[in-house]
């Protein structure tokens, strides 16, 4: 490497005066100095972890509410919707009791042929004349 050792290693190439200041400015104006979009992306990237946590928490809340609502609803399926207890006793119990009454009357012979009364006529009389069902029970 003797021939190379004899040659000065200093840079033989030249550049215009203040070239590097100028080229740095040109490069930055077309890249990092160009603000459109980069700053917005930076803010979104900074907020992304917090948004992800908020979304996860919201999802947990929704799932919990759905689960609670689903199980709570299934427990109420046996109730009769839209009817009060007094309405139930007034309408349903009376009907059931009329059926029970008919069965009991059949057993006691109330509707035997020799009486001459049709059992339907008797039932109609009892219902239309507002006979107290409990009084009839007591009688039979």
């Amino acid at each position: 490497m003797n021939e190379l050792n004899d040659i000065p290693k200093n840079n033989p190439f030249k550049v215009p005066e203040k070239y590097f200041e100028e080229v740095n400015r040109k490069i930055l104006s077309g890249t990092a100095g160009f603000d459109s979009g980069i700053q917005k992306i930076g803010i979104i990237r900074k907020l992304r972890p917090y948004l992800a946590v908020a979304a996860s928490v919201a999802l947990l809340v929704v799932l919990s509410y759905t689960a609670i609502h689903f199980f709570a609803r299934s427990e109420n399926r046996s109730e009769f919707p839209g009817i009060t207890l007094s309405e139930y006793t007034d309408n349903y119990i009376n009907d059931i009791d009329i059926i029970s009454l008919e069965e009991n009357a059949a057993e006691t012979g109330l509707f035997r042929e020799e009486t001459g009364f049709n059992k339907n006529d008797i039932m109609d009389y009892l219902v239309l004349d507002n006979i107290d069902i409990y009084d009839i029970y007591e009688h039979f």
């Binding site: 190379l4 040659i7 000065p8 190439f13 550049v15 215009p16 080229v23 490069i27 077309g30």
Partner: protein, 209 residues
């Protein structure tokens, strides 16, 4: 495992990943990285970090390109293209090497692309400074070397392009072979052999030229 446990485990795992500081800009830092200050700034503010990259490396990269393409106007174009490419890909950079070697690789590719383009557009063989200066508008005004230095540059222009790069990086930039391996994606052994042969060719050219 019951269903509620799986859900909880999945959500917790992903929350931990999101909170990790690994990837805000896509950059990861090695333990002994000489550019760790640049990486810290890039994570904090991408624009400020890139400004630091340009200020720190524009001069080095310019001279590396200039020694390959010879002409100032060509080196100016290639340098700007280098940083534009770097800016476009900065968020995907993974620093197993350093940003320095990564930039050198981009700059080398830009210089080679420009040389090949010039070869396609010129009928004249570009194997000495005189031809370069004769074929450009800037002429020899931006070359200030003595005759020995002119002879050296002409000798270097005789080398194949990749060997020219190896010689310049080792002789002028004094880049370690390990870093050069990252720039040129070539083994250290091959680089050492290439440099050794380049020196022999240059000495023969200077001796006999």
């Amino acid at each position: 495992m019951s269903y509620p446990y799986n859900q909880f485990h999945f959500i917790t795992l992903n929350l931990c990943k999101l909170f990790s500081s690994k990837d805000k800009t896509g950059l990861q830092v090695g333990k002994t990285n000489p550019d760790s200050d640049i990486f810290d700034l890039l994570k904090e503010d991408l624009n400020k970090g890139f400004r630091l990259v340009v200020e720190r490396y524009s001069s080095k990269l310019y001279w590396h390109i200039r020694r390959l393409v010879i002409l100032h106007e060509d080196a100016d174009d290639a340098l700007q293209n280098t940083f534009i490419n770097a800016w476009r890909n900065i968020s995907e950079f993974r620093s197993e090497s350093s940003i320095y070697t990564w930039l050198y690789a981009i700059a080398t590719n830009e210089a080679l692309a420009l040389i090949n383009k010039r070869k396609r557009n010129s009928a004249v063989s570009l194997d000495d400074l005189g031809t370069y200066f004769a074929n450009s508008q800037e002429g020899s005004s931006w070359f200030d070397g003595n005759e020995a230095q002119k002879k050296l540059q002409n000798a270097i222009l005789q080398l194949p392009e990749k060997q020219r790069i190896v010689f310049n990086l080792k002789y002028f930039d004094e880049m370690p072979y390990e870093e050069m391996s990252g720039v040129l994606n070539t083994s250290v052994g091959a680089l050492k052999a290439s440099y050794h042969h380049a020196v022999k060719k240059i000495e023969d050219f200077i001796r006999n030229g």
